[in-house]
Symmetry: C2
Subunit: 399 residues, 2 copies
């Protein structure tokens, strides 16, 4: 059964977020049908409207993560703007913001005020260090979260030192945690009858992503070494060399290793004391890596990966952006790069959705809005404002 | 208001997942109060019960990501096991599994069968490449997803080549996407009255995490270069050297750069043509990096970070696991490493929750279960089985 509605089509979100972590959160929810009303500063808007890359003078950065949302303008620093915002809070389910802790209170629209106006509101704040704890006042960019959350120290090579994830992983995890928080609290409203506050920190998100790192550290008392692409518990599970580039190979257990060794003409290694089991292969991983490279350097990446996969052993090419956007599985079948016609930019692609809801409508709904594009629609629908009222608010710099 | 209930305390999840991505997903939901019933193979259980590190013979790996869940045993390959599972499906809200696509169908408990038994079920499948598309049959370990999803090519240094994230980021993102999918589909049930299937792929999760990578590639036609710790659009936003290690500094705009330059005794650089604006500083980043290193090498990491932060410029130490677990903000105030007494392991820590629900009860509820620990409780509650029935099922190898 395929429904016309989105899974979140009964949810209205007032979205005060800017830049990346917050907009990434509401992007996920907007594509699932939530009515995401992005509230931007009059005349200026989200900072990322000024971020490159640009096409026809329009930011592709903004266009990517703000599709499927509505844009209205509102000056929260004006008393009338504040009142209008609180009127909208009465009609909404969720408020989400990623200001530094304290800014919403200073604007007179902190959680206590919002909760008094509508106690069913789910209020989500996303910040670098969260709204409580000794560092909560510190500025928290992505690189700060990756550094203090422990991911950088864990990533990279023995000779390079700590290495950050090439994407803004702190922002991405923060945005995803925001989405989880909003959805969990919406369900919680069915349990308690009330909304609640949800506090998201980019640093928490990075730390939580370390998964079993903490138990390995606790068991050994040793800080994990940086091992490049190999895993520290078994081998061969690493990147290797082919004629035209690198590929990865994952012999996750003894059986897979034995299949691979036969395939690669290394059958004699299976009974060789130096490679007899996982720990032994790990001990001699440098020699083994060289042997595997010597074998696979005779093949193109495409061919060696096919050969290994056909034998039933996990392997993959290492895709760069170019290969990724052309791939028949990732780009085409899984729709991870969605073609979109933006009214100013023209034809472009935006990042696709990783959560595939197979029953309700899900996916990019419309291009990112121009600044205040939905003022008339949203203010009329939610608050009944007519054209004269909107003109007056505009003249007074409120919207 | 602090409620005694968890936000998901009205939700029962039948959890067939093993290893990391699936269990990470249900860990998040169990800590929020969901009734997560982990269904394990009799006598054997989740593979990770055999994964190190061990303490007192018990897996700390399993103990970390399976706290707050119940464990029951059930042999889905037996006809009676299959029937019992489908009886439980009638009483549940969610089924989640991370087998290879097709396995559930082969077991006779695929989505079509489950949906016929209970059309309100949310069914989430997590796999390497997803359940459709040309590569859906391929095995999908974490390293495969990091390689093909584009993250490795994007991470690392000009001289190292593609670099994987030190944690199992493919599994973590897959698990988080699973949680988002479950929660969104539960809300969708309020919209449509029916459950639905949700399809999660580790590769999709990695690709979606590349955020604006695709628009940068589309705008320039250039595959992004690996830039180590610096960002490719502004400078100084990178890691630097102190007397006893590295730290990160993020001058996100011109104002922050000017404050920093004055602080570091480089005031003359502010008007120097070579460093006059973002693009110029980026062009000369190597010289600027050296100047900044020369300055900060006179200080300890702790002192230079404090100095920079006090001036209002974003900076942070690069934490390894040891510093992380001792930190007063991350470990203590934000509770990212939770002390837990496990009946066999004894005192240990588990990873904390990144989503802080401030109203409903949230957090680690109890230690990971022993195999089948909750057989009696769960089978009695859900299906009314008595002791004799359980004994019979056990004797027949069904549980």
């Amino acid at each position: 059964m395929q429904y016309k509605q989105g899974a979140l089509s009964n949810i209205t979100i007032l979205d005060l977020t800017r830049v990346l972590a917050g907009p990434y959160c509401t992007m996920i929810l907007a594509d699932m049908g939530a009515n995401v009303i992005k509230i931007e500063i009059p005349k200026k808007g989200d900072d990322t409207r000024q971020y490159g890359p640009f096409k026809n003078g329009e930011s592709m950065y903004y266009a990517n993560v703000n599709r499927s949302k509505k844009s209205i303008t509102l000056n929260l620093k004006s008393e009338e703007g504040r009142k209008i915002f609180l009127e909208m809070v009465k009609k909404a389910d969720v408020v989400v913001e990623n200001y530094r802790p304290g800014v919403m209170d200073k604007l007179g629209v902190g959680y206590d005020v919002i909760n008094k106006v509508n106690d069913r509101i789910v209020y989500v704040a996303i910040s670098g260090f969260g709204s409580y704890g000794p560092y909560s006042d510190r500025p928290g960019y992505d690189i700060i979260a990756q550094a203090m959350g422990g991911l950088m120290a864990y990533t990279g090579w023995p000779e390079t030192g700590p290495t950050r994830s090439g994407n803004a992983m702190g922002d991405v995890l923060g945005g995803m945690n925001g989405a989880i928080g909003i959805l969990a609290a919406l369900n919680g409203r069915n349990v308690t009858g009330k909304g609640q506050r949800v506090d998201i920190s980019l640093v928490d998100g990075i730390a939580a992503a370390l998964e079993n790192g903490i138990v390995r550290y606790e068991a050994t008392g040793k800080v994990p070494e940086r091992t490049g692409n190999r895993y520290s518990t078994l081998y061969p599970y690493d990147s290797f060399e082919a004629k035209d580039g690198q590929y990865v190979l994952g012999c996750g257990n003894q059986k897979l290793w034995e299949i691979f060794a036969k395939l690669a003409g290394m059958e004699e290694l299976i009974t060789d004391e130096r490679y007899i089991d996982g720990p032994k292969r790990l001990e001699h991983f440098e020699e083994l890596r060289e042997k595997i490279n010597d074998w696979s350097k005779n093949y193109l990446v495409e061919d060696v990966v096919k050969l290994i996969l056909d034998a039933g052993v996990p392997a993959a090419p290492i895709y760069d952006m170019e290969k990724l956007v052309k791939d028949e599985h990732i780009a085409k079948a899984r729709e991870m790069f969605v073609p979109l016609k933006h009214p100013v930019i023209g034809d472009m692609h935006v990042i696709g959705d990783a959560v595939k809801l197979m029953g309700t409508k899900n996916g990019v709904r419309w291009p990112a809005p121009s600044l205040g594009e939905h003022n008339s629609e949203v203010y009329r629908e939610l608050l009944g404002f007519d054209g004269d009222k909107l003109k007056e608010l505009e003249d007074n710099g409120v919207i």
